[in-house]
Amino acid sequence: MSEKSWKELAIGGIITEAGNSEKYIVGGWRTFRPIFIPENCIHCLFCWIYCPDSAIMVKGGKMVGFDYDHCKGCGICAYECPAKKKAIEMKFEEEFAKEVCEK
């Protein structure tokens, strides 16, 4: 999204486009990053139900990974994961610092 000058803004700071919050990248707020371990996953989709930011990606009824642009790293998914060996592990975001910087 290119940033607009003050002359191009809608009056009163209103948002005229419904449902545009998806365009706002908030993944940078994370302290912890959820890591998906597919071999442990039982595809119960508890994570999908509990995620407060709709950041669990599902294809064909199966958990496939995280939307890191919107996941804020709260860890609820990892906490709720009922699999005997957890399919979601929370890691410090700084472990990925190099990767983030390169991105």
Binding site: E3, K4, S5, W6, K7, L9, I11, G12, G13, I14, I15, T16, A18
Partner: protein
């Protein structure tokens, strides 16, 4: 048919509200504003105006309801005083930033503590930086005229900013004087149809108002709001001229009373300008070259007009009915000094705090001050009128 009736300032503004036919009026009582809303509630109860009168539980809610109604596209009015305005403060900024054309009568009163219900300008000065246009009224007639114009100014399509109409508590709000009211149809066609910048009830184009706005856009939105305020003088002037044509009463941003050849000019806001004019009449009879500059538009502040008017005079005595604690002067004096910045051989500017908590100011005190300044050829940097030392 136009009529001249005896009205208090509160009643005069209630009539202006009635003539503006607001869709929604939000009311919470506070002295000395209460009678304004009493009167308006009577109009609603008697079926004289088809307004949704919303009675709320606090002024914070009053301004919130006003914001809600205005963002739905309604013409909205409300009124308050003192602590009520202070309690609204948070939402007052929001109304301006959302560019909602709300009209509010602010019946000026002192702020606590100590508790005091009488008139001064401390409440209005708390609204200086909120983004609202502020008009001051010298008498009940001007309060009515300002309120009628406020509706037209606020919802002008190049502007969309809320307007405060200030009038002095008790001195104007509770004192009856003759007021010429417009004919209802005449008022309606002068004000014109209500325009909104947007409407939450427009289901075909849904919008979000008041969203989170961080480092990336907040600054730009404030700059755009500032631009609207920069456009305000043109609209205020245009509406004022049109009103002048209709009624013969055009006020402008400032009103000069014997200013052109004056050696000493008093600068004031609100009803005290009337007192000062009376004092000037008497001083002129004694041959003293004194004048009054009455400021009608306080926000946006008319710096250029004031600079051009005052730059040649020798002494200025700015009468402030509020204190800005920690500042070099009262709030009005700070503006006057700012207007005169950069003038070659600027006038000596004196500042006189007066009338706090409704302390009376008489023409005699102003006369005495004028005589003292002219005789001693000095002004006080920070003086007081009517204070026991």
């Amino acid at each position: 048919m136009r009529e001249i009736v005896s009205l208090t300032g509160n009643d005069a503004v209630a009539y202006a509200f009635k003539h503006a036919k607001p869709d929604v009026v939000v009311a919470f009582p506070i002295t000395p504003q209460t009678e304004l809303m009493h009167k308006f509630a009577e109009f609603v109860a008697d079926g004289e105006v088809d307004t949704e009168l919303v009675l709320v539980e606090s002024e914070h809610s009053a301004m919130s309801a006003a914001v809600g109604a205005a963002s739905a596209g309604a013409r909205v009015a409300t009124a308050t005083s003192s602590q009520g305005f202070a309690l609204m403060w948070e939402i007052v900024y929001i109304a301006a930033a959302l560019r909602l054309p709300i009209v509010m009568a602010l019946i000026n009163r002192a702020l606590s503590a100590p508790i005091n219900i009488h008139g001064d300008h401390s409440d209005a000065m708390g609204g200086r930086d909120t983004g609202w246009i502020q008009l001051f009224s010298e008498n009940s007639q001007q309060a009515y005229d300002n309120a009628i114009q406020a509706f037209k100014i606020a919802s002008h399509q190049e502007l969309f900013l809320p307007v405060i109409v200030n009038l002095d508590g008790f001195i104007l709000s509770h004192t009856a004087e003759p007021v010429e009211l417009l004919d209802e149809n005449e008022a309606e066609s002068f004000i014109g149809p209500h325009r909104s910048p947007y409407s939450l009830l427009d289901f075909k184009s849904p919008i979000t108002i008041g969203p989170l706005d961080l480092q990336d856009y907040y600054f730009e939105h404030k700059r755009a709001e500032l631009e609207a305020m920069h456009r305000a003088p043109k609209i205020i002037e245009m509406v004022g001229k049109e009103y002048g044509k209709l009624t013969g009463r055009e006020y402008g941003f400032i009103e000069k009373y014997f200013v052109d050849d004056a050696e000493l000019v008093f600068v004031s806001l609100g009803s005290t300008s009337g007192t000062a004019k009376f004092a000037v009449d008497r001083l002129r009879e004694k041959g003293l070259p004194v004048g009054v500059l009455n400021i009608r538009v306080f926000r946006p502040f008319p710096y250029n007009e004031i600079r051009e008017t005052l730059k040649e005079c020798q002494y200025i005595a700015v009468l402030d009915r509020a204190i800005s604690f920690g500042a070099e002067n009262g709030p009005l004096c700070l503006e006057i000094k700012s207007a005169l910045y950069g003038v070659e051989r600027p006038p000596s500017v004196g500042n006189y705090i007066y009338g706090l908590g409704g302390r009376d100011i008489t023409y005699f005190q102003i006369e005495e001050l004028a005589e003292r300044i002219i005789k001693s050829k000095t002004v006080d940097k920070y003086g007081f009128i009517g204070l026991r030392e």
